[in-house]
Symmetry: C2
Amino acid sequence: MAEYSVVGKRLPRVEGPAKATGASKFTGDISLPRQLYGRVLGSTHAHARILALDTRRAERLPGVKAVITGGDTGGRMYGHSPGMADQYPLAVEKVRHIGEAVAAVAALDEDAAQEALDLISVEYEALPAVFDPREAMKPGAPQVHDVECNIARTFQEHFGDVDQGFQGSYYQRTDVFTTQPLAVGAMEPHASMASFGTEGSLTLWASTQSPFRLRKFLAGALGLEEGLVRVIKPAVGGGFCGKHGLFSNDFCSALLSTRTGRPVRMALSREEVFTTCGGRMPMVIELKTGVKQDGRLVAMEARVTADNGAYNRGSLTPMVLAGSLMNLPYRLPNVRYAGYLVYTNNPPTGVQRGAGNPQIRFAIEVQLEMIAEELGLDPMDVRLVNALHPGDVTANRFQIRSCALEECIERACGTHRWKERRGRLEEGQGMGLACGDHPVSGRSGPHDSSLALVKLDQSGTATVLTGAADIGQGSDTTLSQIAAEELGIHLAEVRIISADTDATPLDLGTFGSRVTVIAGNAVRAAAAEARSQVFEAMADSLEARIEDLEARDGRVYVKGTPGKSVSFSDAVSEAISRGKAVLGRGLYDPPTEKSDPVHGGNTSPSYTFGAQVAEVAVDRDTGQVEVVGLTVAQDVGFAINPMGAEGQLEGSASNGLGQARWEDLVRREGAILNPSFLDYKMPTALDMPRMATVLVDSMDPEGPFGAKGMGEGGLVPTVPAVANALYDAMGLRVTELPMAPERVLDGLNNRRRPRK
Amino acid sequence: MAEYSVVGKRLPRVEGPAKATGASKFTGDISLPRQLYGRVLGSTHAHARILALDTRRAERLPGVKAVITGGDTGGRMYGHSPGMADQYPLAVEKVRHIGEAVAAVAALDEDAAQEALDLISVEYEALPAVFDPREAMKPGAPQVHDVECNIARTFQEHFGDVDQGFQGSYYQRTDVFTTQPLAVGAMEPHASMASFGTEGSLTLWASTQSPFRLRKFLAGALGLEEGLVRVIKPAVGGGFCGKHGLFSNDFCSALLSTRTGRPVRMALSREEVFTTCGGRMPMVIELKTGVKQDGRLVAMEARVTADNGAYNRGSLTPMVLAGSLMNLPYRLPNVRYAGYLVYTNNPPTGVQRGAGNPQIRFAIEVQLEMIAEELGLDPMDVRLVNALHPGDVTANRFQIRSCALEECIERACGTHRWKERRGRLEEGQGMGLACGDHPVSGRSGPHDSSLALVKLDQSGTATVLTGAADIGQGSDTTLSQIAAEELGIHLAEVRIISADTDATPLDLGTFGSRVTVIAGNAVRAAAAEARSQVFEAMADSLEARIEDLEARDGRVYVKGTPGKSVSFSDAVSEAISRGKAVLGRGLYDPPTEKSDPVHGGNTSPSYTFGAQVAEVAVDRDTGQVEVVGLTVAQDVGFAINPMGAEGQLEGSASNGLGQARWEDLVRREGAILNPSFLDYKMPTALDMPRMATVLVDSMDPEGPFGAKGMGEGGLVPTVPAVANALYDAMGLRVTELPMAPERVLDGLNNRRRPRK
């Protein structure tokens, strides 16, 4: 492997000190002269007609500057997925879930704004509601939207000959798995600050993952030309796919600012985030798998029914991925998928880190254990025999150019001495294995690109301009490292300006584990061009050919002549003084294609793989499943920053453990009964098991320095690994989540057979 | 001339509505959490040793967070001209003028900061001081700096054979002219907001003309690496060369922010601006001119003695230009110049709009009238016979590629029916003519460049990124027009981000009338490249060759086939979807050379010319010289925005009228006696005469669309035009400025001969 100076190093976050000392400015830290504070009034009904809406008392409250309702919004619908615009920014005529935004106010302070909400009177006529997607699919069910059918969208995929595959299989089985609804638990709730300018333009500072996407959605919802809207992303406290679109605070702060001519700041409460911003969609997965006698997969078929809730929060993505990712991480010639996305009067569900993959993978990896058990095979061997390898092309035409799944399985299992210890631990203790995968980005439109600039200054400093959004995952650091490596300078000499739709070039946003590869390749190309510009200017005075120059450690050298060099800053000054533009431009659009439900397509430049082994200790009396050890072995391509990569994997595991053990949005008649971190249990640092993270390099040919994406793949195997460990410990098969004490205890009391 | 859609049009300022409604954010409008307020303590002595400096009482005052003195500054000197770093940011050991910054405080509010200043006790030992530059040049004069000679710098230029020229001349004369010190009267006093980040970097929002220069100076004075400093220019209320460097508020707010870890805002008072920030340098000009019998110039020699005050405020520029601009706007084969820049204990003078040109031109244009009178020639004819023409090369090698001076003279004189009316007005009324010139930019270092970016978004909007600073002159509008014209879109579809050392590319700053040409050409090139990128992507689908496409009025057309077109926004979307980078880059470094005092050199890409006729009415009893009419005919190359160009000319004339009639920094023993707008009279709108502005196009081959610079040339002829009109009205020759009532009255009472 090449010797690198900056990439591949465990370097602290570039914005770390500012974050640690509180100097970082999040949206809520921004203040502007004359600013107002906004609040949203949510529906108290799951399904109702709005008969009357009286805002007059609120408007008269001292300090209140504006009140808006659905009638003020211009009647333009929006949605988080293309072609699925199903919601008015503020309810018009009907509400379809509890918490749906009905009105909003802007006032001189938050107390006045809150008080004004209480003075708005809404007269509702309750309508019949439906909360179970299977009920909602039945004829005669209450209609959530004013169309006959509550099925928002159906999905069909079919590769190979599935029926023939099943016919030719040695063993096949069908099981039903159910996943629970999750909330997106980003530390920072959604917030925005809108400032409408006199010249008709709007600036929105927002806690968002994708400023360019938010700009598009917001301009559309407001009926403004997109060019008049500027979205700036300050520091952001997490996204996890929950901030990948337009939310009521964005729209309402913007409209209230246009109404008042004053800046309006608006943050959602935790309860509002839980009830209006989506989260990991609950799915019922009917899964049928056929294998050869040695465990080799022959055919797989899934039928997924998912509760969309009342409105679209990007729910097409998990529905698509749940199907297409059946093709990973194993060789599988025949695949069929049917997905049904169903409207109910529940609060919107949607997309969350992993986007459908955690749900489908839970089902597949648990069922694979059932199959292994039936066939008397070691689950590790079953996975090894099926694992994809570089050069493979899947049934749906994913091109696997790098894959270290086999090594991940061996290293995860090796860490726990799987072959010696598995099945031999004492009663109540067990270990489980699961594999996972995730694509890096995914072409869903005409392009999947990122454009970056790298600007050099006379002092030898580089400024990276990128539209990519660091939402806490560390991309500002990763991209700065890439620029520094390519320029041969130190990380401290790189500044980064990111995610401002006016100041920085186009990037689609932070989602799909795409930033390191997509924006990273763009930044690398931009830095390389800037370096070439410097080399061109220096070749004469160093008496060398351009191709014989190299930059490292802040100097430009003539290769093979270490004595002949000049400092990078002097070289840049020289280039500038010779009238060179030392500003590099890099565009990266991956060599991928849009998927076609019939023929498939290689939608991603690379695919990530991983294997995890969990060890659990189960309390027979309480049903508590304690995870006492977890090894995450992940094929990362190449870790630009191993410390950051480990952080991503630890964070992923934390999310997986949350879904496995605790997290569950408890919904009754459309109301969320636990809309706070007091009642909705997310794991904290204290809840984490002893963890080992193993970074496996596969040197992807398309990624920058061989890197792949890191954001999501690591959470996919965690839930089934814990479920499989629970079975190893107690002989209890779990097909519903979470593995909460009451469910485990119930299961143990009713299990068909004790642990072997 | 080509048909343009956006350039050449009278379009309102892009930031006009924000300025008019108060929405524009100037530095003083910026507030940051935890910010402090800074104030500077100025010296009460013109020349003194600091024996003791006690800040303890100030430090104990509640609300005071930090006090700094010269001992805290690291002992790095700075200066506003290269090679002339002569000042510590805060006085060390000695003070050299009244008002010199001695200490600074940061406190929770401005009152506490002000009170703290009163609690700082400074013990001075007064030293002998010198206030007259001619006295200061004598041996034995008090030494302002700790070197033997008070002459800061001497300047020598010599082109042609001056002695032989004088020998061959028909008539020659020598006169002495004296100009007064002026204050820079930008509406917004100098202000800055400094925020020192935890990662060791410093952000400074500053009211500055040249963010990149300020960054360099500030980093140097603080001993920081330049790459760690970011300078951002908010809205700025005027500069006039007075904000082209580092000022005590910049340095002190930055150092106080590093000391306190809190943001520090600091604005100078009007008195502090007058006493510390420089202004138009007073000069004593001994001028000798020789002519042929028909008035043709043969030789000219000037000896200039200038009062620098105690420290450098960019004073090298007026000293250099006073010499080199003797070569303009007339044909003149033999030129000699000697300049003496002299330190005194006056507050620093320095550079102001026009930079030496108003001073030397006053002398030349008044003396030319004396010569014309002696030879019995019409001053208009003398100017016409001497005027430069396109294709001329001056003695110092300025290359005149465009010049409409002759037309300017004819149109200015024509407006006033010069040939009929001049010399025939009734007693007390008169008209005067003067010509002027100014270079556009000027190469003083290895490069004189600007780099710009033009970024296109899917909605067809363009964002211009430029380091050029709009300080009120309208460059954001001009540059936006240039981008819009080149892209074939409407001005409303162009956004501009300017003057942020991190976010925008390198530009040397706003000075020397350079922005329209230097940054304008860069923006034009960037826009042209972006347009080409769009054309490349569209050629196929429009079934045309790239060179057959054109963009106008928001559409891309196939030339000659009006039916075949696509909207610009669709074309950009198409280009992006095809993975094209629609981001153009433009660099402009003019084809000029650095001047050499012996051989000269073509330092500027173009030169501007103009002629003005003033009409005055003089009150014999009071000495009041009322300017009742003024015509400004200016060769602007091509007016990108005629309304903006007229505004520049009207503003220039206002400055010229101020110098002619009222403005004068009254200094006694180093103290400024009139340091406020109450006592220092600047003209307001009510003081302006009836004005005509005539924009003359000369279509400069190097300028964007033929444009030249507009910022300074227009003020140069105003003072001598008024002086010459006064002679026409009253027979009174004025060789000292201003033409204040007491001086005029005195002159009238002592004049050698009455008006003919």
